[in-house]
Subunit: 136 residues, 6 copies
Amino acid sequence: MRVTVSRKAHFNAAHRLHRADWKAAQNEAVFGKCSNEHYHGHNYELIVHVTGSIDPITGYVMDIKVLRDLIKSEVEDAFDHKNLNVQVPEFQNLIPTAENIVVVIYNKLRPHLDTSQDLEVVLYETPRNFVKYAGE
Amino acid sequence: MRVTVSRKAHFNAAHRLHRADWKAAQNEAVFGKCSNEHYHGHNYELIVHVTGSIDPITGYVMDIKVLRDLIKSEVEDAFDHKNLNVQVPEFQNLIPTAENIVVVIYNKLRPHLDTSQDLEVVLYETPRNFVKYAGE
Amino acid sequence: MRVTVSRKAHFNAAHRLHRADWKAAQNEAVFGKCSNEHYHGHNYELIVHVTGSIDPITGYVMDIKVLRDLIKSEVEDAFDHKNLNVQVPEFQNLIPTAENIVVVIYNKLRPHLDTSQDLEVVLYETPRNFVKYAGE
Amino acid sequence: MRVTVSRKAHFNAAHRLHRADWKAAQNEAVFGKCSNEHYHGHNYELIVHVTGSIDPITGYVMDIKVLRDLIKSEVEDAFDHKNLNVQVPEFQNLIPTAENIVVVIYNKLRPHLDTSQDLEVVLYETPRNFVKYAGE
Amino acid sequence: MRVTVSRKAHFNAAHRLHRADWKAAQNEAVFGKCSNEHYHGHNYELIVHVTGSIDPITGYVMDIKVLRDLIKSEVEDAFDHKNLNVQVPEFQNLIPTAENIVVVIYNKLRPHLDTSQDLEVVLYETPRNFVKYAGE
Amino acid sequence: MRVTVSRKAHFNAAHRLHRADWKAAQNEAVFGKCSNEHYHGHNYELIVHVTGSIDPITGYVMDIKVLRDLIKSEVEDAFDHKNLNVQVPEFQNLIPTAENIVVVIYNKLRPHLDTSQDLEVVLYETPRNFVKYAGE
């Protein structure tokens, strides 16, 4: 009997999409206004899904307060009010597209969960654009 | 060609998380303010997903009005404006965590659906905390 | 040049609507299932609007962090995961209808704001039912 | 490493549910007020999910601008501010239930995606009623 | 001490914007695709605000169940799943723009409220376009 | 008979809150992590309300397409995917707090509206923090 427990969180950050090994014109052609050299930013909305068995003693798959605190320490404290390109080590050599961010978040959270539990992460870059990663 | 038909519903209820076989301190340690002896409550938002084949005559997987009425009779009439711990039989010996509630709802709806159809139930306890169960 | 600064917050609580000086039948007739003796509950969503002049030094009408903390200490800490009828002093002799709750919240916040600032409070009892009070 | 990229879009359209080979009474019995001969309408909200590998050069599964433009040309331009029964060829002989519409949208989008990518389409007919199709 | 009580409701309807005394080209020039002769439609979201004094006996400005039923009988039953141009008498000689619809709804509700109460009506034609009328 | 017509829009931008005439410690004390020298960003959601009389010929207070295009040319084209501090002239000597941004937007839109019409602008910096300005 596997149930999924989900928690929404959010963080605000600046970023830009560009490759240092490309000229400005190529960055502009591929990434458009997202390559603006002075950055732009988003209110990222995050949903973390953890799937596992219900503990018959507590009725919990996972204490949602523990999940909330894990998201805070691993994601919000690391990303909130930061410039992803400049201030977050994972994106020193990785373009902070929504796709790459969601994989980085997954990889930061995964080691803290029980191996019997499944993890899926959804990241909204805007209310209309979002991505999902489940580690496969 | 299997399509999922989904319906949102809601109910308002009181509950508390505690075990009668635990002392107050242990309940407080595990369940925190959710163990408040005088109860607290939520606007539960419910999403019921039914997956099946499209009937070529009607273009329906399932008449959404039938699904709406089923949710009303099985869930809303049973849970809305109730104290889950005190007034809902399924929680007499089961802690009404979101996880346990979603499983109870699944088990109440499942017998009313065709065996060829799949069921998945999502329950929001708050806008940021929610659970999902698909019967496996 | 007056600008309104707004902050959303929320709390979860149990309540019931009834008058001790009425018989059960009269309470049932007036308040319906909201008078359930075992309580029910809601995820209350709160919006606090403060209107005032922009401070030319900071560009703030009011530091939103200060407003957030004020809402936490005056409202969330007092109401969250509580039974309003039993555990919140303001409702010992006042029915906790949404109307009365929004006035109580207004009265708790008003003394903490500058007299040059206007206050308006909106309270959602459910996503479809809400109330507003501005102190007049 | 497969990631899902999602895009929300919308269109407004009129429709009715009825079968020309049924009498009015039968249409009314099965489709209720949805069979109103003068039509009614909806703000359809659409979510398109595309799952594939991240391109290591761009960090994209798919350029979301390309997906946005594809949805516009294939779905919005074809359906927005249209009467689905009268003006959209796919529904000349197919009842425009939400289930049938989501399958039509899937079939219009599928040929434009790489065969290595998976497609799932979600369609909200109202905020409480929605459907999903993934081509199986 | 005046408090506003608000209720959200909704209805789905078809409409078109056109003047019979204009040629098609002029209708097209002014109303664009909204003038489509075969109609299109919307999920109209409605918010009704009633402002008045709190009854000290009940703690209500107005029983929200009474307001809900009033909206149902006056608005939902009259407009839901209807073609506004063809089937709703108020729009026989009045273009069903959002502006005109919100005034019609106001005028239908106003006589049912106490003269000491204020009424304001908000109507969402789409999630991004909406109108408001308060009778002045 | 004055009706309000409203349009939602959005833009994504980077910003930081700081005063060049203050030392870093003072900026940090007043603006906290919002003063991060490498910027952070937001998905700004914008609501523009225009109040005026209904034109009896068209049934419009203002053609919502005209309002949409005005918001695009005056606000979205100027702010979207920009660094407000560095790339938007209005904030060269004005801290881009939400309060100051909403006043700037008001001042950019006001000259394009008829003097008989009222304007109110709401700006969401995050889903929980927002501001409003009506030109007084």
